[in-house]
């Protein structure tokens, strides 16, 4: 009798262990080493890394773990030796990281530009303004809602420089910090009928789902360039140096660079990123 009474209690663990075994089947480990790539949300949200990483992994024995955070956090990871290689777009901070000796082999990979997007009705009247500073001034003067990333990302850093050039310290209820990635911030801006600064790649990859229009573009101050760099092995000898070098070689290779010329053209009708390492 007692054995039969225990039976139901045993069912649950047995079922769970069965699940465990079922799960193990799909979880084969390969003799490859792990490579941690710290990068910005824009390279992931735009879908570029979904294409690049499998191309890289097909030719190299590295399992690439893409940690997509803001450029600021990605470089913090590099500074603390928590990643092997970085793909980021915040040039001033990158130069500082290299100068401090935490990163080496910084190379230009690609560029596009930042754009100021907002509700198509454009209540602040910035449409056609080619100067980013003037556009920001108009938004601040009319107190129209502006969504800032507020996360130390490359886009956030660029936004702050533009506010500085405009001599404005944004504050008040119209200035909202999302603390999220580019994709989320664009969605919030669309919902709130607000303005925001976005990289062109992420905006193009999401524009069909958003009621947001490009209102100001073309200012040289809004140039957006991406660099790759690896963690300095002198500071952290245990990083995956070979993997970091292989990834850097890959993103600078003609294969990866030429891919940029076609990526997004079919899907979004426009190129998302322009190669910087092709002509050499």
């Amino acid at each position: 009798m007692s054995g039969r009474k225990m039976f139901p209690i045993l069912i649950v663990p047995v079922l769970l262990v069965a699940l465990l075994i079922a799960g193990c089947g799909g979880n084969k480990t390969v003799a490859r080493t792990d490579l941690i790539l710290a990068t910005t949300t824009s390279t992931q949200d735009s879908g570029l890394l979904d294409q690049w990483v499998p191309m890289f992994e097909a030719e190299n024995p590295y399992n690439t773990k893409v940690i997509a955070v803001g450029s600021g956090q990605a470089m913090d990871m590099g500074r603390n030796g928590e990643c092997d290689v970085m793909l980021v777009h915040s040039p001033a901070d990158e130069q500082k990281l290299v100068a401090d000796g935490f990163a080496i082999n910084r190379q230009a990979v690609m560029h596009n530009d930042f754009i100021i997007v907002g509700p198509p009705s454009d209540p602040a009247g910035i449409k056609g303004t080619s100067s980013a500073v003037d556009a920001f001034k108009a938004i601040a003067n009319t107190q129209n809602k502006f969504i800032s990333r507020g996360d130390n990302s490359g886009t956030n850093a660029k936004e702050i420089t533009v506010w500085k050039s405009a001599n404005i310290t944004p504050s008040g209820t119209w200035y909202v910090q999302s603390g999220k990635g580019m994709g989320d911030t664009l969605r919030i801006a669309a919902e709130e009928k607000a303005y925001t600064l976005s990289d062109r790649g992420t905006y193009l990859s999401m524009k069909d789902q958003l009621d947001l229009a490009i209102l100001s573009q073309g200012d040289l101050a809004l140039f957006n360039n991406y660099h790759v760099m690896m963690v300095n092995p002198d500071k952290y000898p245990d990083i995956n140096l070979a993997g970091a070098q292989a990834f850097e070689d890959f993103v600078l290779s003609p294969e990866a660079q030429e891919f940029l010329n076609t990526y997004g053209v079919d899907q979004y009708g426009q190129q998302l990123f322009y190669p910087d390492a092709l002509s050499q």
Partner: protein
């Protein structure tokens, strides 16, 4: 409204066609939460039992810790597990960060106190005479505890299901220590919850709805099973079936 409807239809298509991405994530989630619950149970039931049965120095502190652990915010657990597992953390040499092991680790920390706490409460509510009676009938220490646990089995199953339900719907810790990664174009540390967060931020609401429906189905099933157990209809069922079968066999033997 059109968006939601359209999303639902597309999501159901993804599920009905057993979309490989959705299926992999679902199996992975069940796998991770299953292991974490099993280990949480193997640790939690003995700890909960010991705290309920024995009186020793430091017991009050442990009881407080277990009770506090039942309400641990997943994000905080994620943060601490992250700090321990990161390359330059105390357990960095394991290289567990951004692997399924890290998620399992964090989920055990979340599930174990839940299971221990419910076990403890259930055992304390039992009549203490059960154990004395078992002992007076000649049962040893271990045997008497097993008797007590057997009498409490409904609550123990509830404890385990509560632990599983708690971690399968958790997103903060899994995101922080797992990283929501894909490897070789396959989901690697992507659970139903973290994948939903990503799909929403990418604006792929169909995929997000599909994952949400699956997660909802799993939790509703769990609650349903839990209710059946509470009402005593599920666990008595196998026993009843067994009894009927035995009776039938007995009759056959007679005939």
């Amino acid at each position: 409204m059109g968006d939601i409807w359209n999303g639902l239809v597309q999501a159901l298509k993804l599920i009905v066609h057993l979309d490989p991405y959705v299926m992999k994530i679902t199996l992975f989630t069940l796998f991770v939460c299953g292991i974490a619950t099993c280990i949480g149970m193997l640790l939690g039931i003995p700890i909960g039992s010991a705290l309920a049965i024995y009186r020793f120095r430091g017991r009050k502190l442990l009881v407080t810790l277990v009770n506090a652990g039942m309400g641990l915010p997943p994000v905080v657990v994620g943060l601490f597990v992250y700090l321990f597992l990161k390359r330059r953390g105390p357990l960095g040499f394991l290289s567990w960060l951004y692997t399924p092991k890290a998620i399992i680790f964090a989920e055990i920390v979340l599930a174990m106190p839940l299971i221990a706490g419910i076990t403890m409460a259930a055992l304390q509510n039992q009549n203490p005479k059960i154990r004395m009676q078992a002992k007076s009938l000649g049962a040893g220490e271990a045997r008497s505890i097993l008797t007590l646990l057997r009498e409490t089995r409904l609550s123990l199953v509830a404890a385990v299901i509560a632990g599983f339900g708690g971690i399968i719907s958790e997103v903060g810790a899994a995101m922080m220590v797992g990283g929501n990664l894909t490897l070789n174009n396959q989901p690697y540390t992507r659970t139903l919850t973290t994948a939903t967060v990503l799909e929403v931020s990418r604006g792929d609401s169909q995929m997000a709805i599909a994952l949400g429906i699956i997660l909802l189905t799993i939790t509703v099933l769990l609650v349903w099973v839990l209710t059946l157990i509470q009402q005593g209809t599920l666990l008595s069922q196998p026993a009843r079936v067994a009894r009927t079968l035995l009776r039938g066999r007995g009759r056959e033997a007679k005939a």
